[in-house]
Amino acid sequence: MVKRLVVGAHYGLRDWLAQRVTAALMAVYALIVAGAFLSGQPMTYGAWRELFARGWMRVATLLFAASLAWHAWVGTRDILMDYVKHDGLRLALEVLTVLLLAGYLSWTIEILWR
């Protein structure tokens, strides 16, 4: 067992933990949605719209979208840190990632509360 003094702002631990908590949240949502799809009822527009009009479904979907954004940010940053060695290029790609994920989240809110 290595005893080491952890100093600094703990960004690493927080992101590591966040990635796992958001993963668990998204897994639950995915299982519920997959179950609904596999129940085999033919989907009509009315039922589809009504499903996403329900308060709990909107909240669950928003929670999923927020989890996805955080989870994907940690994962994408890990990939970029490993493979993109040029600082400027990595920063540019990280900014692009943040914009993309923020865009996804806003788009989801727009779809849900139209």
């Binding site: 897994a27 994907a72 993309l100 996804y104 779809i111 139209r114």
Partner: protein, 134 residues
């Protein structure tokens, strides 16, 4: 690492042909790199694609009908199948990593066996949802 060791020139053996044909990844390595590739694919383009379909299908009845027709196109189904694989593999591999974080299945033999299970489960689930799709 001492500074002398840091300065010592060490050869790197990572040419593209070496990566493609000579470096043989062990099974857990395959799970890992496929976890990354599937994760990257899910971020882009799949999230954008699915949000687009959700947007159009929820907006109007015509949009809903259009997406239902769109989902019948063979190329779209193929894309959806790739999405399903990426999702299922990422899902199964993710559960394996959560267990590894809890020190479950860390021994070499178990780690190899669970890697095989993850790769197989991803493919089998894709086949299952694929038959549902067609």
């Amino acid at each position: 690492m001492s500074s002398a060791a840091a300065k010592k020139h060490r050869p790197k053996y990572l040419s593209l042909p070496a990566i493609l044909f000579e470096i043989r990844l062990p099974l857990p390595g395959w799970v890992s790199i496929l976890h990354r590739i599937s994760g990257a694919l899910l971020v882009f383009p799949f999230t954008a694609w699915l949000l687009y379909m959700l947007d159009v299908s929820l907006a109007t009845q015509q949009g809903f009908d259009r997406i239902q027709g769109y989902l019948q196109l063979p190329l779209v189904k193929l894309g959806l199948l790739l999405f399903i694989w990426a999702f299922c593999h990422h899902f199964c591999a993710g559960i394996r990593y959560l267990l590894l974080d809890l020190n479950r299945g860390v021994e070499l033999r178990l780690a190899r066996a669970s890697s095989a299970v993850v790769i197989a489960a991803g493919l089998l689930l894709t086949a299952y949802f694929g038959t549902k799709l067609w």
